[in-house]
Chain length 469, copies 2
């Protein structure tokens, strides 16, 4: 599809002595079987497969530390692998080496309900954690579309539909256990709600995409399950009306929990995939959290605002099962989109802009998409200024890939011109690397590189990501 992962020339040798040393630590949980390597050779990005030389199924932090020491000695790359749901190629071992699979490190280690914190192994997924919390009166809000692992979510600074109210992984990770490139184990912070005790190691690793250290445990913030929850769908005549409504809602200070946008194509895909009967116009999905009275008050404020922007009547989803169905449909929008064109590969955009620039940015993008020779959908966490275009490409068509890349480039330039970012929540991986210079400038990028050099001098941690190096 493109040559970014035609990187066979970049692969580093994995000496037999290294594999022997690793086997001495992990035994038969090191696999070089073709099927296992293939399973770990792709993610949800549009790139062709790139296989690791071997896969290790990790069990403990100490074991990960031993693996790091051995790989560091032999200069062999390590890629940490959670649920495999990256959209940007993070998990492709472009320089070969070892993929460390965390699916077996999936224990919930502690829930401190009084302190609103949970500590989990990095392989625990967000749904697993919330299932574990179900009877505690608490929940963990960060919800990317996929059922990602908490380690992967921390590594990509993930967010999702709840971020407008509860923040992203940046705000919701309290502490991490990290293995360094040379195999030391450290905790980045203690469990106090805030601290000014030195550099913010936690946030250095959150969003570092496995390039600065290997996250083995995650302590996150939890929240009380709201006393009352209600959700509603509101259709709009145009995309601009929907986006303008959101801007006004935010400015009115309504403490809305979720507000998600879908264009008519996204609605159509979701209707088909999730057997819903939503009206196929641009729409907003709202969710309100609070006391019973508070939720009513929020809903009334929002209804008044959307009415002024041509919004139609709210369709309420008040029963928990109806709400779950609606949000499951939203979370599956990526997979629903894929079904619009069987056999396709999806390329995803992820810009995020200051909210004052959002309406123009979405409108201009929609104009670009009108001419595209492939199906597209737009969905967005518009309360955060973040939206995604899903472009459903013929995997064999270089022309479609080139057009999609041009659309993405134009979109990113538009976002950066508006003081926005090329990636609001998916991360850089391979796909957004080319934009970092434009977004951050040479001096900021040089500082990021000096941090990478300081933390991983042999460049063994997910090499070739964030920076091509």
């Amino acid at each position: 599809m493109n040559d970014m992962t035609d990187s066979s020339w970049l692969r580093r040798p994995v000496p037999a002595a290294c594999l022997d040393a690793l086997r001495a630590v992990v035994g038969d949980r090191l696999s070089t079987a073709q099927a296992v390597r293939e399973h770990h050779g792709h993610d949800e990005s549009p790139y062709p497969d790139v296989l690791p030389d071997a896969v290790i199924f990790a069990r403990t932090t100490e074991e990960v530390a031993a693996v790091a020491r051995i790989c560091n000695e032999h200069r062999v790359p390590i890629v940490a692998y959670g649920a495999g749901s990256s959209l940007e190629g993070h998990l492709l071992p472009v320089q070969g080496g070892i993929t460390l699979d965390f699916s077996g490190m999936n224990a919930v280690l502690a829930v401190h309900a009084e302190d609103f914190t949970a500590t989990v192994q990095a392989g625990v997924t967000r749904k697993q954690l919330n299932e574990h919390l179900r009877d505690s009166g608490l929940f963990f809000p960060v919800d990317p579309g996929a059922d990602a692992s908490l380690g992967g979510m921390a590594a990509t600074r993930a967010s999702g539909t709840n971020a407008v109210r509860y923040g992203t992984m940046r705000e919701n990770v309290l502490s991490l256990t990290v293995v360094t490139a040379d195999g030391r184990v450290l905790r980045t912070a203690r469990r106090a709600p805030k601290s000014s005790a030195g550099y913010d190691l936690t946030r250095i690793f959150v969003g570092s995409e496995g390039t600065l250290g290997i996250i083995t445990e995650v302590t996150v913030k939890l929240y009380p399950q709201p006393e009352a929850v209600s959700a509603a769908v509101c259709n709009f005549p145009t995309l601009g009306d929907a986006v303008d409504s959101v801007i006004e809602i935010m400015q009115a200070g309504v403490p809305i929990a979720r507000v998600e946008f879908m264009d008519e194509h996204a609605v159509r895909s979701v209707n088909r995939y999730s057997k819903l009967e939503l009206r196929e116009t641009p729409l907003l999905l709202f969710e309100f959290h609070g006391s019973a009275a508070g939720v009513q008050e929020q809903a009334a404020s929002v209804q008044a605002i959307v009415h002024d922007h041509g919004g139609m009547d709210f369709e309420w989803a008040n029963r928990p099962e109806d709400r779950s169905r609606l949000w499951a449909a939203r979370h599956n929008a990526y997979f629903a989109g894929l079904q619009l064109r069987p056999g396709c590969r999806a390329s995803t955009t992820d810009v995020c802009v200051p909210i004052s620039a959002l309406a123009d940015c979405v409108r201009e993008t929609a104009r670009d998409l009108a001419d595209a020779p492939f199906p597209t959908t737009i969905v967005g966490h518009v309360g955060d200024g973040n939206f995604h275009v899903l472009m459903l490409l013929d995997p064999d068509s270089q022309e479609e890939w080139d057009i999609s890349e041009r659309i993405n480039h134009d979109l990113v330039r538009r976002a950066i011109a508006a003081d926005g970012t090329c990636t609001g929540e998916h991360g850089v991986g391979l796909h957004k690397m080319g934009f970092l210079l434009e977004e951050h400038g040479e001096d900021a990028l040089a500082l990021m590189r000096s941090l990478k050099h300081a933390f991983d001098p042999n460049n063994i941690l997910n090499p070739g990501k964030i920076f091509a190096w």
Copy 2:
């Protein structure tokens, strides 16, 4: 008082060529006058004065960059100086060199009301910013006791009474303009509400206490002024009852805006200093933000909880002028404490613990204080698990200093044993340096050091802080 700042042997030479080169850039805004050096030779910490060799009154980011280039070439230390309100000795130039005074860089550069952001020069103070915002319907919530500069607040990861609802500087700084040790200028992030585009440079500099770069501009988040605000005071028979109430309020998920604790000694000092007539028992100060109905609902929930813990009736402060008077009194608690013993110097503790450990931690500390031979007060942002002991010492008594240090050490050990931190919001400075090893461990501290080496290889940025080096 102690020998931590008897550091004359550490002072580095400031060559005449360096001063000449600096004068060529800033002209007569470089001063070596004794009075100016003395003014910049102390902060609100208990340490004796340490004078810089010269003071530069900065005007622009570019000028700061030129100063950094010259100082870096000559290996001359630079200390950035905002409002001078550090409690921990951050501002003392223990290795000599240049103090960069930011009081002249006090322009509000932009308010983007639609995006809820403001960009200011580093010398703008929190009160100045809120005065500027008064008619915009927005406000900036982070409020350490002093009227600190935004640059200093970012550098120490400050918080204050609103943090329980609105977060600290960690959550509220969106982007910084930073001058590096070698005089490059960079922006750490764009104005998008969230981003996953590479390492989190913003949060690397937030809390770095001037040791990694010089903050010259700060972009912060703003919030809508709440539709309704009400404040109340509630007295309790014991300190434990007050703290237990807060824990239950947090667990009930009441979205309280502020909840501040004072022990009876703090109340007495505040009554005297601010001419109030609060009942002199342990008390909580509450503030509720929201819609009119929401505020009533929050207050009713809180009243029910405090009643169960022996709390007396609420005394309301609903008129804006009464509320302002109450909160001004709370913000002046440090200065009020000083007046309990004229001529004293204060030593302040700043532990923060998981909220489940708060009641025991405060109770045990109060027992230690009962035997102290000097006056003390306890105040706390108890919704965050953070509280301060103010110890009012005879500046000429080594014995009192030693006792106060022992109390602080015992308190920090208690906090660390409870998975807490030695500093919730004041920062490390000189006073908390000795605890970092115990709090973070050798490996985490080594990583912090490697970051410092990477960003400031000549150790010219506020040297001798965070790490003794």
